[in-house]
């Protein structure tokens, strides 16, 4: 059984399809990346998974049963647009948000204090939120998301607007929670982060899921006929070569796709014959970005 199963979700806003028949699965214990450019439908999908939006059609299945209010108690959620009550004190904020999830008492308070100590904020527990720096407010937000020890962590664009220190902190939290066997779902338009952190992904574009599955499987499937090349010299002769299917120039690197997996050796020979200085020739390697471009098409180049 999967931890979470998203089945045929659709959502319209004023006749515009924000999410169009989206289906994907999140296995137990996975770090799951929902990837797509801005406006692709990531936040809408996540809000439907959180039961904040009611889908027009489709459903979200949690370990075999349809999600409802009880799912919210099991989730730690970090929305894309972060915010807290400005006038509320740090500890009061944490305890209030934990109480909404059904966790009360001394144990939660101790735990909150431990997290505050770990994040260097213990002495600020009685400060008002508005008196903290933006970076520290973000830390409070992370703590609030994990304080009730949720089974699922759902982070919407978690790295947007974070300074490097908080970025590392958040990565640590994600890895730590993964070790504990929790399910982590995050959305991002940053392919780099997604590639480094996630083991399962779904790519969303124009509201549609265009690719999904285990990252390693996807990569090996796409990499077989792919070569990543770093080279100096004129590569225009490749365009007329029959066994070359596609050439994409990314500036520093060039991605070349051949028709058959066995033809990568022919490609290397050809490059040397044509006096191209090869600095790096990597067969069977492909970045998530390249995969995204391949799947989403040319206009996807603006995604980093």
């Amino acid at each position: 059984m999967y931890a979470l199963e998203v089945k045929n979700l659709s959502k319209n806003f004023n006749g515009i399809k924000a999410v169009d028949d989206a289906s994907f699965i999140v296995p137990e214990g996975s770090v799951f990346g929902l990837i797509g450019r801005n406006g692709a439908g990531k936040t809408t999908t996540i809000r439907m998974m959180m039961n904040i939006y009611v889908p027009d059609s489709g459903e979200v299945i949690l370990r075999g049963t349809k999600i409802g209010q009880e799912f919210k108690d099991k989730v730690g959620y970090l929305p894309e647009e972060r915010g807290l009550y400005k006038k509320m004190k740090v500890m009061d904020t944490l305890l209030f948000l934990a109480e909404l999830k059904g966790k009360t008492g001394k144990a939660v308070e101790r735990k909150a204090l431990n997290y505050l100590k770990r994040f260097d904020l213990a002495e600020r527990k009685n400060s008002k939120i508005e008196d903290l720096s933006k970076g520290n407010q973000q830390k409070i937000q992370f703590i609030a998301a994990i304080l009730h020890d949720p089974e699922f962590l759902i982070f919407d664009e978690p790295f947007a607007g974070l300074d490097p220190i908080n970025t590392d902190l958040l990565k640590d939290i994600i890895l730590e929670k993964k070790e504990e066997g929790k399910v982590i779902i995050f959305s991002t338009h940053l392919m780099d982060f997604a590639e480094k952190l996630s083991d399962h992904i779904a790519m969303i574009d124009h509201g549609k899921i265009i690719l999904q599955g285990s990252l390693s499987e996807i990569k090996s499937e796409f990499a077989q006929r792919n070569v990543t090349l770093e080279a100096v010299g004129d590569l225009s002769f490749l365009d007329s070569e029959a066994f070359v299917e596609k050439v994409e120039n990314f500036g520093n690197t060039v991605a070349i796709k051949v028709k058959e997996a066995s033809q990568t050796q022919d490609l290397l020979k050809l490059l040397i014959q044509n006096d191209v200085k090869v600095n790096k020739f990597a067969a069977n390697e492909i970045s998530l970005h390249e995969i995204f471009v391949t799947v989403a098409g040319k206009d996807a180049n603006n995604v980093k």
Binding site: N14, P79, D92, L97, L100, K101
Partner: protein
């Protein structure tokens, strides 16, 4: 509806609202403000600037002049200013000449005015007053009774009437109000209940507007703070709205109970005795009705204010959205105030069953006249029905509104939100 999550929201609202400095300040400030407005109005109404009033009293009859002189100078001095008089015997033509001579003095306010009492006045009581400001009622109200007294006395002199008979003739009819109610006993009515109905109306008006604005601001704050999405990851929008409204309503009820506590002490103990003209006909049932009605009013109006808050991202834009709601409070307020001269007028009767208006008018009416129980039940039933309707409606707009930021939505868009499947 009142589940664990809603109760957590209510608890937070109470912590922020009830146990806050603002609560104490507002609880003290609103009565001060209310009596301040009343006091200011009374002060402005009675404010007189007659300190240096200087009047020429003229008549062609020496007898009138003498009598007026002794009456005016014999009158007790007014606290707030002295009026000086000069008495001159002259006829109408001389008055015209005299006025020409003193025109500049009158314009410069060295002389306040000239009162001419013609001999004819003994028959028709018509007196002429020449002044830069002939409509100074404060001054005239002071001068009128003594002159009236003199003219009346002189009219009856020689008609063989005793002083007692004269007194009787001069007296106005004095109505003593007795209220017939379902009680067996008929009680003499004081002005206590009129004051009370004013008090009820004013408190309702002020506190609905204050708590309403407060709720609206706090919804806008949650929206612009972006905390709303964090909250929605734990609670549903309905639980959030319910919790907020109930939390604020409890706070407002506690506040009202504090304001009404002197009344509760007054009717339930014998510690204080009111002078008979202020006697109150008030029972615990009145107060209970008032509180129940207030609770319904709070839920109804806070629902509306919260909805407006959810539609807009900032208080400036929201101002354009609250005027229709303000009208629903202000118009009934004026009807209720106007009703105090005749609580059984047709508008008041009808308005006390009209949704929204009923919430403000009925409490004032029950203090002034006996309302049959069935009518009270009917008004409560109407108001509860409206409350439920508004609550459902508010919930539908609220759940969409709180997640929409950016440009100010058009009303036509808001109407579409009803149909959204959020």
């Amino acid at each position: 509806m009142l589940n664990r999550r809603t109760i957590t929201i209510i608890k937070r609202e109470l912590k922020v609202r009830l146990f806050s400095r603002t609560f104490i300040i507002m609880t003290l400030l609103i009565p001060v403000f209310m009596f301040g407005i009343l006091g200011l109005q009374t002060f402005l109404f009675h404010y007189s600037d007659t300190e240096n009033a200087f009047l020429i009293v003229a008549s062609e009859s020496q007898m009138i002049l003498d009598n007026v002189q002794s009456e005016l100078l014999g009158a007790p001095k007014n606290k707030d200013g002295n009026i000086e008089f000069m008495f001159e015997k002259m006829n109408k033509e001389k008055v015209t000449i005299r006025l020409n001579n003193i025109r500049s003095d009158i314009l410069e306010e060295k002389i306040t005015g000239l009162i001419f009492i013609p001999g004819e006045a003994l028959k028709n009581k018509k007196v002429e007053y020449y002044s830069k400001n002939p409509n100074n009622n404060v001054l005239l109200n002071k001068i009128r009774p003594p002159i009236n007294q003199v003219l009346t006395d002189m009219y009856f002199v020689g008609r063989q009437l005793s002083g007692e008979e004269l007194e009787f003739a001069k007296n106005n009819v004095d109505f003593n109000g007795f209220r017939i109610s379902s009680d067996k006993e008929i009680k003499e009515e004081g002005i206590g209940n009129t004051i009370l109905s004013f008090l009820f109306t004013f408190l309702l008006y002020m506190s609905l507007i204050f708590t309403g604005q407060m709720t609206m601001t706090s919804v806008i704050e949650e929206k612009s703070n972006k905390i709303v999405e964090v909250l929605l990851s734990s609670v549903s929008s309905r639980e959030l709205m319910t919790g907020k409204i109930i939390g604020t309503a409890i706070t407002a009820l506690v506040q009202m109970a504090i304001w009404l506590s002197p009344l509760i002490i007054l009717i339930s103990t014998t510690w204080f005795v009111l002078p008979p003209e202020f006697t109150l006909k008030l029972s615990m049932w009145h107060l209970l009705f008032f509180m129940l009605n207030y609770f319904i009013a709070l839920i109804t109006f806070l629902g509306l204010f919260a909805t407006v808050g959810s539609i807009f991202d900032n208080p400036q834009d929201a101002q354009s959205g609250i005027w229709p709601i303000m009208m629903l409070i202000i118009i009934p307020f004026f009807i209720a105030i106007g009703m105090q001269t005749n609580p059984e007028n047709q508008i008041a009767r009808i308005a006390s069953f009209v949704p929204f208006a009923s919430l403000i008018i009925m409490p004032a009416r029950i203090t002034l006249v006996d309302i049959p129980l069935m009518q009270l039940i009917l008004s409560i039933a109407i108001n509860i029905a409206v409350m439920i309707f508004i609550f459902i409606l508010a919930g539908k707009i609220y759940r969409v509104g709180i997640l929409i930021t950016g440009k100010k939505p058009k009303w036509s868009e808001v109407v579409k939100w009803f149909r959204y499947n959020y």
